[in-house]
């Protein structure tokens, strides 16, 4: 993956983060960083805590201890809207579209906090990137196919003008050909200077598209390094690639 022409964001640093639900701890001292313009992969099996980590970064899961900083701004304990304002946006697992709103309304929801005058030009630019959505503009989002819905979910997050995009299980339930087109889309987004944290069960794809990766197992980071090295790591090969 080539570096973007312009890296606009800041560095995200997650330091010794612990989090969970009720009395159940899910994350244990998780530490990771994403530099401006990077694509970083977070891989791990079901229930490893990947979505919980994204939730904690986005402010929808309460942090127990540790910190999340974005540049010189501390995100720990902030409400989700403040984190969106900081430029950290999430494409949640399962797309989580507003099914009874149209594609247009979903995209405009992505720009909910924006008061600048560039919302319309951005909408045009994103529709140019995803022409299928222009055809489906007035359709209810709940009526679209899985691939189209994933495009809407990514486009909705793009409407918030992210500097860092957190993408949770983008490929889940999609045909390989659709996954390939979404990966191409991510590369286009990355070229505009957006940093990306991609969370995937499709480990092969995640490691191929990213420059660095972290392995999360039962709430702990057990392995990290350049993605190319992890692709050749015997432990990763055995546990996640089935070879």
């Amino acid at each position: 993956m080539s570096a973007p022409a312009v890296a606009t964001g800041r560095t995200l640093v997650v330091e010794a983060l612990s989090a969970g639900y009720g009395d159940t701890q899910v994350l244990w001292d998780v530490t990771l960083r994403i530099d401006p313009g990077e694509i970083v992969a977070l891989i791990g099996s079901n229930c490893a805590g990947k979505s919980t980590l994204l939730g904690a970064i986005s402010g929808v899961v309460k942090t127990w201890s540790g910190s999340v900083c974005y540049g010189d701004q501390t995100l720990t304990g902030l409400e989700p809207d403040r984190i969106v304002r900081a430029g950290v946006l999430q494409v949640p697992q399962g797309r989580r579209l507003f099914g009874s709103l149209t594609v247009e309304e979903n995209l405009r929801m992505g720009a909910y906090l924006r008061t600048d005058r560039d919302v319309e030009p951005d909408l045009e630019r994103i529709l140019g990137l995803l022409p299928r959505l222009r055809e489906r503009y007035d359709y209810l989002a709940g009526r679209l196919s899985g691939g189209e819905q994933q495009q809407v979910a990514i486009a909705r997050a793009l409407m918030g003008r992210p500097q860092l995009l957190l993408i949770d299980e983008m490929s889940l339930g999609l045909a390989p050909v659709l996954v390939d087109s979404l990966i191409a889309l991510l590369e286009q987004i990355h070229q505009t200077g957006v940093s990306i944290l991609i969370v995937e069960q499709d480990v092969q794809t995640a490691l191929e598209v990213s420059s660095r990766a972290y392995v999360l197992e039962t709430g702990r980071i057990t392995l990290s390094g350049p993605s190319a090295e992890l692709l050749d790591d015997p432990q990763v090969k055995k546990a996640y690639l089935g070879v």
């Binding site: 986005s58 402010g59 929808v60 409400e79 989700p80 809207d81 969106v84 304002r85 946006l89 999430q90 949640p92 989580r96 579209l97 507003f98 099914g99 009874s100 709103l101 309304e105 405009r108 929801m109 992505g110 909910y112 906090l113 709940g142 909705r156 918030g160």
Partner: protein
């Protein structure tokens, strides 16, 4: 035949008010899953705001509509933001008890301020009417119906076309996804509760033109609002309108029924609520999500 036409007109005229009463109740229930038992008390407050403006400053009730909306909206917003928000995601019973307590508080404060004496708003056009093809239409009730239709139309437009309206609908569908889009759910909930209270206030103003006022006047309207929004379908403007008009018409026709069981004679007005509830049961058996309700996946 004239009698049937008269009942139909009476029903539609009454149904318009019921639609506005139910609209705010339905939005709060459908979007926030809170059955607001203080809704009837808010209706009463709206009526008293109108009465106060009318008796102290001779403000026409229709001109006091924005005032009662603003007063009740502000009250509702603050109540949600600083009281109900603490238990917003609690089980239904918790909010049930909280709003019930709130209702008692509001009614008793109203008793302290305005006493329990019955009051009325009598304008120059109260009691005037016109007749078309043998059907009598009171002007005040016609104006009330037109205001009710206008209010529901404006609400529908606002919910579907405005940025905040879109955020409200999105939050109702998926709170988590709305948060990830930057929506402050506590603020949106406070707006919805404020809207619910504001619409109750507006309904109170409209009611003050046709009914007498006392601090416990809201209770029957709370029960009717409950039935109307189950009848029409929860959380939608069109559901409240269709439910309100249906309830009004059924009630009007029911008032013509006379039943004699043995020596016991029951007049239609005594049977109104019973008949309306039977219709509710039938509708729920045929369409469990209400007349305008949509099935969800």
């Amino acid at each position: 035949m004239h009698l049937l036409a008269q009942d139909l007109v009476n029903g539609i005229l009454a149904g318009g008010i019921l639609a506005v009463v139910a609209l705010g109740f339905s939005l709060v229930w459908g979007i926030m899953n809170i059955i607001n038992l203080a809704h009837g008390a808010f209706v009463m407050l709206g009526a008293y705001v109108t009465w106060q403006l009318f008796s102290s400053f001779h403000v026409d009730p229709f001109l006091s509509l924005p005032v009662s909306f603003a007063v009740l909206f502000t009250l509702g917003y603050l109540i949600q933001r600083f009281l109900i928000n603490w238990v917003a995601r609690a089980p239904v019973l918790t909010t049930f008890l909280l709003t019930f307590g709130l209702s008692l508080l509001v009614v008793n404060v109203a008793l302290l301020i305005w006493t329990g004496d019955t009051k009325g708003v009598t304008t120059a056009y109260s009691g005037t009417n016109f007749t078309v093809a043998g059907v009598t239409v009171p002007w005040a009730k016609l104006y009330t119906l037109l205001a009710a239709l206008l209010i529901t139309g404006v609400m529908q437009l606002w919910l579907t076309r405005s940025k905040t309206g879109r955020a409200i609908r999105a939050t109702a569908m998926d709170i988590g996804a709305a948060q990830l889009s930057g929506v402050r759910v506590a603020h949106i909930y406070a707006i919805v509760f404020g809207l619910g209270a504001g619409l109750a206030g507006v309904a109170g103003t409209l009611i003050s033109l046709s009914y007498s006022l006392n601090p416990s006047m809201g209770q029957p309207f709370l029960i009717k609002a409950f039935v109307v929004c189950v009848l029409g379908g929860l959380g939608s403007v069109e559901g409240a309108l269709v439910g309100g008009l249906t309830y009004g018409i059924v009630e009007a026709f029911a008032s013509q029924i006379d039943v004699t069981i043995g020596t016991q004679h029951i007049s239609g007005t005594g049977l109104q609520d019973a008949v309306a509830l039977v219709v509710l049961l039938i509708v729920l058996i045929v369409r469990p999500r209400g007349i305008m309700g949509r099935a969800t996946a």
